[in-house]
Subunit: 227 residues, 2 copies
């Protein structure tokens, strides 16, 4: 009986990892579609988001079913509830990848991103994908140090986001308002995507330690507090 | 025993309603702060978001506690799990109100929104606040028709959002890139805020009927499908 139960718990974890892999792949492909103005790829990202939504519903139903039949307490209960929260993060990440792909489709056959911002946006896309891959690993390994590392990686995303804004607000900006709007939204999508990956990792930290990631960082590395 | 249990369940509902009221008030005040360039009001919105975050943590802990001690099944279990999802929507709405307030603070003593867009942004703010007030009522009344009404109200938000974009992309736009970026982000914040209010209402629909709001709308009003 308990074996079947732990199998079910594991299968929820597997579902989360699958979602993380799908949305990680989606943001990578959406970035390529955006920069290369690849309509087919954009369409495929948009279509594949349905699979992520389906997975989330399945996972939610499985979690509720498990709560009802097995009535877990203590840690096991926290795992199930936290899984629900993580699946919401991942579902939302999928939406954001879809938004990037929709922007690519909207501006086809042009690229929505001007040439001089390609390298910044490419790095944002790669970083977003890497953060999600790390979040997936953290779900499997439950490695708190690895999880806390995501915050540091996310600082790089914030830097890249600032770089975008510097370009936008530079007097020499010559790409007009429409492109400014596109770049603003697209920067926001990547930033939020990264936030959700960090959030998934932080929830693992909370599960393992019972402390929230921000408390943990400031208590173990007091120097970080004043920086 | 069961009485104490239903009291606890009710208190979770009360917590959700309080969160909805707080974030509804926050988006209203943030809009005033934005349009009137009112720094004090902006600061108060930013500060008050902490209360929303605290409420969410409390509510989450109370829900987990209730799951552990009372082990609800069937409908009661769905109520608790759905409450967790709603509290996440409401917490995120609070963040979005805070973002609007931060934009107000960033551009003080100017208003981030140019004069000719004030009426559109004012209507977006009022609509956002009204949607959240309706969501709060729906949590209390569990009225499915009232809940489905929010989708229609949200159509107006989409219209207003399109109006913003029309202004932005009009050749006569004369407010420069920085303001275009501000208006783009701020339109996005209102739109997302409204999405979360709709999402809260839709979750009530699902609780009451066992059907997702989109299925329900298309089955009861087939005409809406082709529009």
């Amino acid at each position: 009986m308990r074996d079947a139960y732990h199998e079910e718990l594991d299968s929820i974890g597997d579902g989360l990892v699958e979602m993380a892999r799908l949305v990680g792949s989606a943001i990578g492909r959406a970035t390529t579609a955006l920069l290369d103005a690849d309509l087919k790829l954009a369409e495929s990202v948009i279509a594949s988001d349905e699979r992520v939504d389906d997975l989330q519903r399945e996972l939610e139903n499985r979690a509720i079913d498990l709560l009802a039949r097995q009535q877990p307490v203590a840690t096991d209960l926290r795992i199930v509830v936290t899984s629900l929260r993580m699946s919401a993060d991942l579902e939302r990440s999928g939406d954001l990848a879809r938004h990037v792909a929709k922007l690519a489709r909207l501006r086809y056959p042009q690229s929505a991103v001007p040439r001089d911002l390609h390298s910044t946006v490419l790095e944002m896309g790669q970083l977003a994908q890497r953060l999600m891959a790390k979040a997936a690993e953290v779900i499997i390994s439950k490695d708190v140090d690895a999880a806390l590392q995501l915050e540091a990686d996310d600082d790089r995303m914030d830097e890249l986001h600032r770089t975008l804004f510097q370009h936008l607000l530079d007097d020499r900006w010559q790409h007009g308002i429409e492109t400014a709007v596109d770049v603003t939204l697209c920067g926001r999508y990547y930033e939020r995507f990264a936030d959700h990956a960090v959030s998934v990792a932080n929830r693992v930290v909370y599960l393992v330690t019972g402390e929230h990631a921000d408390e943990l960082t400031s208590s173990t590395t007091p120097a970080a507090d004043g920086s």
